[in-house]
Amino acid sequence: MSINARQPGSEQSILRTWIVTLFSPVVDAGGGTLNFITNGVKSYTDLRGAREENIELRDKVQELTDEVNLMRERAAELERLRTQLALPAQASYPRLSANVIARDASLWFRRITIDRGALDGVKLSMPVAAAGGIVGRVVSVGPNWAMVQVITDKQAGVGAMLQTSRAMGEVRGLDNARCEMKNISSSENVQEGEAIVTTGLDRIYPKGLLVGVVERVEDDPNAPWHRLIIKPGAPVDRVEHVLVLLVEQKDLKPADTVK
C-alpha cells in the first residue's frame, strides 16, 4: 500500500498520474478509431428513416425556437426584477469542452476519463456538465486528462432541491444509471417529472444546474420521508462530450448558494 504515494500539496497518487498520462493518448487514439468504425456503421443504418425524422425535427426546431424566445423574454424580465430588487446577478463561469476517452473501466466505480487536464486549467472537484444537466465532478487530474466521478456513482453526492417546492436534500448515486434523493418530507407534494436542481450548498456545483427529473416517488408508510428515484438530466452512461465548469470552491460565493 506504500505505493499509494501522494503528490505534495495534492491528494493525487503519483503512480496514477504517471500511468494514466502515459495511457491516455493511446486510449484516445484507440477510442477515436473505434468511434470512427461504430459511427460509420451507425451513420449508414441511420440513413433509413432519415426523411421522416427530418420532418419531425423541423417541427421540433420550430417549437423549440418559440420556447427559446419565450425564455429569453422571461430571462430579461427576471434580470429587470433582480436589478429593481438590488439582488446580485447570477454568476456565470467559463466552460471548457472535453471529449470522453474512457468510461466505467471497472465494475466498482462509475468514472469517465476526459481528454482535458491541468494544462487546460482543470482542477480537482470542478463540476462537469453536459447537454441536459450535470455529469459529475473531477476526482483526479493529470496534465492531459481528468477522471470524473459521475453522479450515478454510489460514492457521489450532490446538494440538490426540488425546483418548484425548493425542498432540499442530497442526491446520491444508485449505480444503475439512476440516483436517489432521500429526506424529502412526505408532506411535500412531489410529482413525477419534476426537475431537481443543484443548491450550491455542497460548494462543488453552482446553484441552479439541472441534476435530473423525478422518475418515481417511493413512499414508505413507516417513514415520514419520500424516497425519490431520479433520472439524470444528462445521459451520464453514454455521454461523449462534456463541459468542465472552471469553477473552484473559492469562486462559489455565498450568493451562488442557497442561504
Binding site: M1, S2, I3, N4, S13, L15, R16, W18, I19, V20, F23, V26, V27, G30, G31, L34, T38, V100, A102, R103, D104, A105, S106, L107, W108, F109, R111, T113, V139, S140, M147, K154, Q155, L174, D175, N176
Partner: protein, 181 residues
C-alpha cells in the same frame, strides 16, 4: 524475451480493459489483468506470477480508480497461489485452467471488496450490495464476474498460447518428464 512479452501483454490487457467497457458494457465483468496474471502463474513460476500480478494489479488500480495497491495486492497473492498450485498439481487441461480462472475470479472479488472494507472504504461494498445485507446481490455480482472472466479467459488463453508458444512447449516437456519418466 519472455519478460518483454509479458510486459507487452500486460500493457495491451490494460489498454483493452480501459477502452472496451465504454463500447461493450458486459466487459465490465471481465478483468484482463487477472486473466493475464493467472496465465503467467500457470507457467509454474511463482516469482513471475507474483510480479505479473503486482504490476498488472497496480496498473489496473491506477487506471480504473479505487485505492492504489488493493488490486495489486490481490493479484500478487493470486499469482503466487496459482503458481504454487500449478507446481503441485497438473493444471494443463484447458478446462482445468478455466476452472482456475473461475476460482481466481472469486478470490479476487472477495479480496478486493474485503480490503476496501478493511481500509474503511465501505462504499465499495455498498456498491455491491445495493441494499445493505443483500448477500444475494453480492453473490450475483461474483457469479457474473466468474462468468465474464472465464469466458474471456477461454479466448485470451488461446491467443496467449500462441504468443508464449515456446514457453508452453518447454513447460509441457518438463511436466512429461516429471510425471511420466
Amino acid at each position: 524475451m519472455q519478460t518483454f512479452k509479458i510486459a507487452l501483454t500486460i500493457i495491451v490487457a490494460l489498454f483493452i480493459q480501459v477502452l472496451l467497457p465504454g463500447y461493450l458494457s458486459f466487459f465490465r465483468y471481465v478483468d484482463l489483468a487477472l486473466i493475464v496474471t493467472v496465465y503467467v502463474a500457470l507457467q509454474r513460476a511463482p516469482f513471475l506470477g507474483m510480479v505479473t500480478g503486482c504490476v498488472a494489479g497496480l496498473g489496473s488500480d491506477a487506471l480504473v480508480g479505487g485505492i492504489i495497491g488493493v488490486g495489486g495486492f490481490a493479484r500478487t497473492l493470486i499469482g503466487y497461489i496459482v503458481a504454487m498450485v500449478s507446481i503441485k498439481l497438473s493444471v494443463e487441461n484447458p478446462l482445468t485452467r478455466l476452472a482456475v480462472v473461475g476460482l481466481a475470479s472469486v478470490v479476487n472479488t472477495v479480496l478486493f471488496v474485503g480490503l476496501h472494507q478493511m481500509l474503511r472504504q465501505e462504499h465499495v461494498l455498498e456498491q455491491v450490495l445495493p441494499h445493505v445485507g443483500s448477500w444475494r446481490e453480492f453473490g450475483a455480482t461474483v457469479g457474473w464476474r466468474v462468468l465474464g472472466d472465464t469466458l474471456a479467459a477461454a479466448v485470451v488463453f488461446i491467443l496467449l498460447d500462441r504468443v508464449f508458444a515456446e514457453q508452453r512447449a518447454a513447460r509441457r516437456m518438463a511436466i512429461k518428464r516429471r510425471f511420466y519418466e
